[in-house]
Amino acid sequence: MSSDSSYYVPESSKLPIFMAFGLLLFVLGAGSTINDLGKESSNSYILLMTSFAVIWGVMFVWFSNVINENNKGMYSDQLNQSFVWGMAWFIFSEVMFFFAFFLALGYVRMFSVPWLGGEGEKAITNILWPAFEATWPVMVTPDNETFPGAEKNMNMPGITKLHTWLPFWNTLCLVTSSGTIALAEAALKKGKRAAFKSWMVVTISLGFIFVFLQGLEYYEAYAHMGLTLGAGIYGTTFFLLTGFHGFHVCLGAIILTIMTIRGFGGAFSEHDHFGLAAGSWYWHFVDVVWILLVLVVYVF
C-alpha cells in the first residue's frame, strides 16, 4: 500500500497521551497557583512549571517528528492539504476567541456604560450610582472607590503629536512586518535564500520591537497613568484585548524565529515550506487583529 497516492497514517504514537498528561498538570498547576496567589508559602507553581516543560517538550518532539516524516517523503499532496485545512480552521478558531473580547467591548460601550449613566431613563442604575456619567473611555467608574478609574487614557492624541504615541509606532512595525514576511516568502519561492533569510530576520526583529513597545506602554500605563487591570471597564478591556493580542504576537514571533533558525539550517524548499507558510498566515492574522484593535481600542 505504499503507492504515491497513499495517505500516511502513523501506526501509533506516545505523543498525544504525554500531551494530555501535560495538560492535566497544567489544569492542576494553573488552578492551584492562581488559587494560592497572595498566600505566604505555596509551591504549586512548581506543578505549573512542570506542565509547561512537559507541553513544550512534547511539542518539540512532535514537530520534529512531523518534519522528519516529511523529509523522508512520507507525506502525499493530499496529506499536505490536510495541514492547510487544519491551520486555516485553527486560525478561524483564534478569530472567534478575539471575537468574544471585541463583543464584550462593543456591548459595554453600546449598552452597559450608557445604561449605567441613566440613558433611556433606566432608573434602577441611576439610583445605585446617581453621580455616574457615561463617557468613553470611562475615567470615573460608577463605584470609583473600589475601581479607581485611570487618570489618563491611551486614546490617539492630535495628528501633530502622532510621533509621541506608541501605538502609532506599533502599527507601523506590525504592518511593515506583514509586508516583509510576504517578501521573505516570495524570495524563498524564487530560490533566493539569502534574501529570504534577511527578510525573515527583519520580520522577527519588527515583531520583537512591537512586543518591547507594548511592554513599554504597559509600564507607562501602570507607572504614570493609573491605568491598571483594576481601573474599571476601560482598563479591563484595554489590557485584555491588547494583552491577548500581544500574547499572540509573542507566539507568532516565536514560531517565526523557529522558522528562521530552520531556514538558516537549510530547511524549506521552493515548493515545500508549509511550516513557514503557516507561520506567515498566523502573522498576517495577528496583524489584521491589531488593525481592528487600534481602531476600536485606541482611535474611536
Binding site: 500500500m1 503507492s3 497513499s6 495517505y7 497514517v9 502513523p10 501506526e11 501509533s12 504514537s13 506516545k14 505523543l15 498525544p16 497521551i17 500531551m19 494530555a20 498528561f21 495538560l23 492535566l24 497544567f26 489544569v27 492542576l28 494553573a30 488552578g31 492562581i34 496567589l37 496529506l79 490536510s82 485545512w85 487544519g86 480552521w89 478561524f92 478558531s93 472567534m96 476567541f97 468574544a100 473580547f101 463583543l103 464584550a104 456591548y107 459595554v108 452597559s112 456604560v113 449605567l116 433611556g120 442604575t125 445605585l128 450610582w129 467608574t141 460608577p142 463605584d143 473600589t146 475601581f147 491598571t228 487591570l229 483594576g230 474599571g232 471597564i233 482598563g235 479591563t236 485584555l240
Partner: protein
C-alpha cells in the same frame, strides 16, 4: 480494497497493538471512536447517578436527603457532565467510527491529534469530579455558570473548573478541525459534497459550529478568571461592566452549542429511517439546506435565553422572530422524515423504534421551544420546570435516543455481532415509557409555577414530582439494561453479516462486520461504481 480480514492479524502494520498501550497510543479512528463512546457511556452513568440524587431529593417536598448546597453541586455537575461529557463525546465517537468509513477514507486526516482530543477529556472530567473532594466543594452555580454566581459567590474550585473548560474546549476544537479536514480533504473520488451521507453533512456543519463557538466559551471563562483573581470588571457594574454581558457571551456560545448537540442526531435518524423504510431519504437536498440554515440561524437567536434580564424592546422582538424562524428548517426535516416513511416497507427493529420515538418526542421538545420563544409568554415560563421539560425533551428522547439508536444500528458493524432484538425492544419500551413519565409532567408543574434548581417545592406539586421521580428511577435502571444488551452482543452475540440491515445503503455496509483494522487504504472509486454512496 483490503476487505479480507479475520481480526487476528499479527502483521505489525495492520493489526492493533496488544494490551493497554493499544488504547493509550492509538491513532486508529475505530479505536478512538470506541474510546469516546465508552467514555461517554461511563459519564452517562455518573451524570445519571447525579440525576437520581436530584430526583430522590425531589421525591417529596421538604428537605430530606441532601443539603441545598450539595443539591446545587448535583444540578450543576449533572448538567456539565451530560452536555460536555456524554452527548458531545458520544457524537464525536460516532464521527470517528463512521465518517472515514462513510466517505471511503483510510482514517481521520490528523490521527495523532485525534488521539490527543480524546485523552484530554478524561483529564478535564477527572479534575471536574475531583473538585467534589476539594475545599468549598464542586462548582454549584448551574451549568450556565452565570456571573456573579460563578465569580463573586463561587467556591474556590471555580479556578479548576475554568481551566478544565479551557482544555475541554481545546479538545472540541482539535476534534472539529480533524472532522472538517477529513470531510473536506479525504472523500473518495466521485463523492461530491451533495453525494455525502447525511451524517457526514451534519457533522461538517456541527464541526464548523464547534470551531466558531468553543473559543467564545474560552473567552467567557477567561473573563471570569480575570474578574475573580485579577481585579478586572467585565461582569461588575461597579467598575462599569455588566453581569448581563456574561449571559450574552455565554449564550452566544450556548445556543449554537444546543445545535451542536442535535445536528448529528438529525444525520443519524435520517440514515436509520431510510434503511428501515427501504426508501432513499425524501428531499436529500432540502435536508442539507435545512441543517445549514439551522446552523446559521443559531448565531442570531442567543438572547431568547435572556428575555427576562433586561433588553431593549427591539432586541426582544428581533430574538423572538429569529428564534421562530428556526421552526421552518426544523419542520422541513420532520416532514422529510415522515415522507420517507410514507409508503415505505417499514419494519420496526430497535434502531427504527428509537428513531421514530426521536421524531415524535423531539418534535414535542421543539414545539415547547416555540412556546418559549414567544417573549411575553417566556416572562411566565422563564426558569420554571417548563424549561426543564423543554430541553430534556430535545436532549434525552432527542439527542440521547439518537445516540442509542446509532449504537443499535451500527453495533453489528463495529463488533461483528448482533444484539439481542428482544432485549433491545424491551430496552426501548422501558425507556420510551419512563422518559415520558419523567419529563411530560414537568410541563404541568412548570406552567403552574414550579421554579427550577430549587431543592424544595410547594405542596401542590407533590404528586407530579413523585411521578417524575418514579419515571426517572425507571429510566435510570433501563439504561443498565442497555449496558447489558451491548455487553451481551459483544460477548455472546450472533455473527452479523457485512450488510447487516437489508435496506442499508452507504460505503460502511460494503465492508465486513467487523471491518478490518484499517479500511479503505485505497479509496473506493464511486464513479467506477465500485460502491454505492
Amino acid at each position: 480494497m483490503s476487505a479480507v480480514i479475520e481480526g487476528h492479524h499479527d502483521d505489525h502494520h495492520h493489526g492493533p497493538a496488544k494490551g493497554i498501550t493499544r488504547w493509550l497510543y492509538t491513532t486508529n479512528h475505530k479505536d478512538i471512536g470506541s474510546l469516546y463512546l465508552w467514555f461517554s457511556f461511563i459519564m452517562l452513568f455518573i451524570g445519571g447517578a447525579m440525576a437520581m440524587v436530584i430526583r430522590a431529593e425531589l421525591f417529596e417536598p421538604g428537605s430530606q436527603i441532601v443539603s441545598p448546597e450539595f443539591y446545587n453541586q448535583m444540578v450543576t455537575n449533572h448538567g456539565l457532565i451530560m452536555v460536555f461529557g456524554v452527548i458531545m463525546p458520544a457524537f464525536v465517537g460516532l464521527a470517528n467510527w463512521l465518517i472515514p468509513m462513510q466517505i471511503g477514507a483510510p482514517d481521520m486526516a490528523l490521527p495523532r491529534l485525534n488521539n490527543l482530543s480524546f485523552w484530554i477529556l478524561p483529564a478535564a472530567f477527572g479534575v471536574l469530579l475531583a473538585t467534589f473532594f476539594m475545599e468549598g466543594g464542586a462548582p454549584n452555580f448551574g451549568w450556565t455558570f452565570y456571573a456573579p454566581l460563578s465569580t463573586e459567590y463561587a467556591p474556590p474550585t471555580v479556578t479548576y473548573f475554568i481551566f478544565a473548560v479551557h482544555i475541554m474546549g481545546a479538545s472540541s476544537i482539535m476534534g472539529s478541525i480533524n472532522v472538517i479536514t477529513t470531510i473536506l480533504n479525504m472523500r473518495a473520488p466521485g463523492m461530491t459534497l451533495m453525494k455525502m451521507p447525511l451524517f457526514v453533512w451534519s457533522w461538517l456543519i456541527t464541526a464548523y459550529l464547534l470551531i466558531a463557538v468553543m473559543p467564545v466559551l474560552a473567552g467567557a471563562v477567561t473573563m471570569m478568571l480575570m474578574d475573580i483573581h485579577f481585579g478586572t470588571s467585565f461582569f461588575k457594574a461597579g467598575g462599569g461592566g455588566d453581569p448581563v454581558l456574561f449571559q450574552h457571551i455565554f449564550w452566544f456560545f450556548g445556543h449554537p452549542e444546543v445545535y451542536i448537540m442535535i445536528l448529528p442526531a438529525f444525520g443519524i435518524v435520517s440514515h436509520i429511517i431510510e434503511t428501515f423504510s427501504r426508501k432513499p431519504i425524501f428531499g436529500y437536498d432540502s435536508m442539507v439546506y435545512a441543517i445549514a440554515s439551522i446552523a446559521l440561524l443559531s448565531f442570531v437567536v442567543w438572547a431568547h435565553h435572556m428575555f427576562t434580564v433586561g433588553m431593549p424592546i427591539a432586541g426582544e422582538l428581533f430574538f423572538m422572530y429569529s428564534t421562530m424562524l428556526i421552526a421552518i428548517p426544523t419542520g422541513v426535516k420532520v416532514f422529510n422524515w415522515l415522507s420517507t416513511m410514507f409508503k415505505g416497507s417499514l419494519t420496526f427493529e430497535t434502531p427504527m423504534l428509537f428513531a421514530i420515538a426521536f421524531v415524535a418526542l423531539f418534535t414535542i421538545g421543539g414545539l415547547s421551544g416555540l412556546m418559549l420563544a414567544i417573549a411575553p409568554a417566556d416572562f411566565q415560563y422563564h426558569d420554571t420546570y417548563f424549561v426543564v421539560a423543554h430541553f430534556h425533551y430535545v436532549l434525552v428522547p432527542g439527542a440521547l435516543f439518537s445516540i442509542i439508536a446509532a449504537v443499535y444500528y451500527w453495533l453489528p458493524k463495529w463488533t461483528g455481532y448482533m444484539y439481542d432484538e428482544f432485549m433491545g425492544k424491551t430496552h426501548f419500551w422501558l425507556s420510551f415509557v419512563s422518559v415520558n413519565l419523567t419529563f411530560f409532567p414537568m410541563h404541568f408543574v412548570g406552567l403552574a409555577g414550579m421554579p427550577r434548581r430549587i431543592p424544595d417545592y410547594a405542596m401542590q406539586f407533590a404528586d407530579y414530582n413523585m411521578i417524575v421521580s418514579v419515571g426517572a428511577f425507571l429510566f435510570g435502571l433501563s439504561q443498565l439494561l442497555f449496558l447489558y444488551v451491548v455487553l451481551k452482543a459483544i460477548f455472546y452475540g450472533k455473527k452479523a453479516t457485512g450488510q447487516v440491515w437489508e435496506g442499508a445503503q452507504g460505503l460502511e455496509w460494503t465492508l465486513d462486520s467487523p471491518p478490518a483494522y484499517h479500511t479503505f487504504e485505497t479509496p473506493p472509486n464511486l464513479e467506477a461504481g465500485e460502491a454505492k454512496g
